[in-house]
Amino acid sequence: MKKKILWTIIGWLVGLIWIVPFVGVLMTATRPLDELLGGCWRVEPFHPTLNNLVGAWNHPTASLKQGMMNSLIVTIPATFLPLIIATMAGYGFSRYRFRTKKLLFALVVITLALPQQTIAIPIFQLMNWLNLVDTYFGLILVHTAWGIPWITFFMRNFFTTIPRAMEETARIDGASDITTFFRIVLPMALPAIGSAFALQFTWVWSDFFLALILIYSPEKLLATQRIPLMRGVYHVDWGLLSSAAIIVMIVPILVYLLLQRYYIKGMIGWSLK
């Protein structure tokens, strides 16, 4: 029993270590800079303020209000488009036999692991040629293509685990494969789609690199791009910077908290098959 208590204490200590930086950032964001010079853990004097959070939200030139809107405008289609396309592809790979299947599936798996750096330069040149540089449409396209491999992989693995009996019945009743897919298969796949949604949404929201190469007009910048801009050339304000950090991370954290079960399942399924 004593041992159990010891382990519990150790466990909570670990939790404490992990949460302390968050508390520190929160302290920094909610107090004036003058109080922080001796370290954010000094609570004497302690004058909580919302100025930093409001300041970051309404920042005159790197406004996070605008950044968060922009991020939503990109993230929502860049989550749903690949979900639809890749769920279909995952189904196709799990249910049909065709000559190039092995080759194409190997392609999917290989692209799954690529670093974004591999495509950076040509993607910029291609988008420029298509006149899609500095447009959300261009960025959404790239995110969609980038999300397809892992969602396809994930959904295929899901579909191979669910029995085909229902589909067979529907087909005997005369429904086409396409009708069957939308009427029967999709509703059954909702939990898996939910997992894929949670992850893809968070990843697109969190992306910095693709946005860095493709979006540059000041008013179009996404939320993640505005964080480095919170530092002016001659001015870094930790209060403002931590406030911005908190605002930008709050969306994925909300998604995580709301869809926690799906999120974790997705994380496991994404890697474990």
């Binding site: 800079l33 010079l37 005159p60 910029f124 000041p218 801009l229 002016g232 001659y234 870094v236 930790w238």
Partner: protein, 390 residues
């Protein structure tokens, strides 16, 4: 009566014109507060609306080439490094301002950095001096300290400050992107290598591993090694700490006068024997891809002309590049700074002038030097690799 006419004209012009120019500059926080009055004055006088956006020059350096390649520009008037303006002016992405800006109305040589042949690609809309080490007069009085007149006195001063209880280090080191360290370094190069060295380094006429550079760098590393410089700390934070008495001296540009609670308590001295001072002009240009070339030209001419610059210097911390601005326009402490540049050679900023790959490497290497001065030879080697070559 005439006021009403003007007012209604302005309203009509605003409604009809509805031109909104986008100005992109690096000023944020308190510095932006000091810059906005200039733009507001222009809006008031012309009825042209202005949208101001912050973009650091480092970020613009990443972003503009891609934009230009796509025949686009994020703004109508953009503040940027001279080296960049020159380079992309020659490549045809920038509107020439020859005829819009009259060189005769500026301090001699202050537009050289944005000139290629006879063509002007930008203009200097304000200037700042990096005169030397600042101190609080009250701090010096309390501790019975004197500004030094020789190198030995300088060292003795540092030693005295170091012994004051509660002092972290005699000189505060500003960190951040990297320019506060490069400003100090340039001051050492100019003091011990002479003003010509700065010009030669910019042109690539002299090697970084030459004796004259090494001599100046040894002076710098000798005091780094003795711990006279504090650890690099984010520069606005360390400014507060210095003001609160954690440090004795702080090397900074003249804009410091606009950033402290009581500018009258500021004193400044250059390293004994310095014959040159960096006069950093801030440059602006109009990209070729602006939608409103005429309005943009009007704005840039006004900004860098005597009217715009007078509004700017009145805010404190700025030195005009245009001639014909009365000394009485300056706040008292800036008047002192404006006088310092008389009698010494005004020089361009080293890394801003070279730009390109050198600039970030220079900053990054100095951050290394500051915490490990014994690595000076490695630092010099890298700098020589990245430096412009003749």
């Amino acid at each position: 009566m005439s006021r009403w006419i003007v007012l209604s004209l302005v309203i009509v012009a605003t409604l009809l014109g509805a031109t909104t120019l986008t100005v992109i500059g690096p000023w944020s926080g308190p510095e932006m507060d000091k810059f906005m009055p200039v733009l507001q004055e222009f809006e008031k006088q012309t009825g042209i609306k202005i949208d101001y956006k912050i973009y650091r020059a480092e970020d613009l350096a990443n972003l503009l080439p891609a934009q230009f390649a796509a025949k686009k520009a994020p703004g109508d008037v953009i503040f940027m490094w001279a080296s960049f303006i020159r380079e992309y002016g020659q490549k045809g992405h920038i509107l020439p301002l020859t005829g819009v800006i009259n060189e005769a109305n500026y301090l001699p040589g202050s537009l050289n950095q944005v000139k290629v042949g006879k063509e002007l690609y930008g203009t200097a809309y304000t200037g700042k001096v990096k005169p030397g080490f600042w101190y609080r007069k009250s701090f010096f009085e309390k501790n019975k300290l004197q500004p030094p007149t020789t190198w030995e006195e300088f060292i003795a001063l540092l030693e005295k400050i170091k012994k004051i209880p509660g002092i972290k280090a005699p000189i505060a080191s500003g960190d951040g992107v990297g320019w506060p360290l490069s400003d100090v370094t340039e001051h050492f190069l100019i003091t011990f290598g002479g003003p010509q060295l700065q010009l030669d380094l910019i042109e690539g006429n002299i090697r970084w591993d030459s004796n004259i550079v090494m001599n100046a760098m040894t002076k710098l590393t000798s005091i780094l090694e003795k711990g006279y410089f504090g650890e690099p700390t984010e520069w606005t934070l360390v400014l507060k700490q210095w003001w609160n008495g954690d440090y004795g001296l702080y090397f900074m540009g003249s804009w410091i006068t606009g950033m402290v609670d009581n500018p009258d308590d500021l004193g400044v001295f250059a390293l004994p024997g310095a014959k040159g001072v960096v006069f950093g002009a801030d440059y602006a240009f109009v990209p070729k891809y602006t939608q409103y070339p005429e309005e943009a030209k009007k704005l840039i001419a006004w900004l860098s002309g005597p009217q715009g610059q007078a509004v700017q210097v009145k805010q404190g911390g700025h030195i005009a590049t245009a001639v014909g601005i009365d000394l009485s326009t300056y706040p008292p402490v800036d008047r002192e700074v404006a006088k310092i540049i008389q009698g010494v050679t005004a020089l361009d900023d080293l890394d801003d002038s070279i730009g390109g790959e050198f600039q970030p490497a220079f900053w990054d290497q100095l951050k290394l030097l500051w915490v490990q001065p014994s690595r000076v030879n490695d630092v010099i080697k890298v700098l020589q690799e990245k430096a412009p070559k003749r």
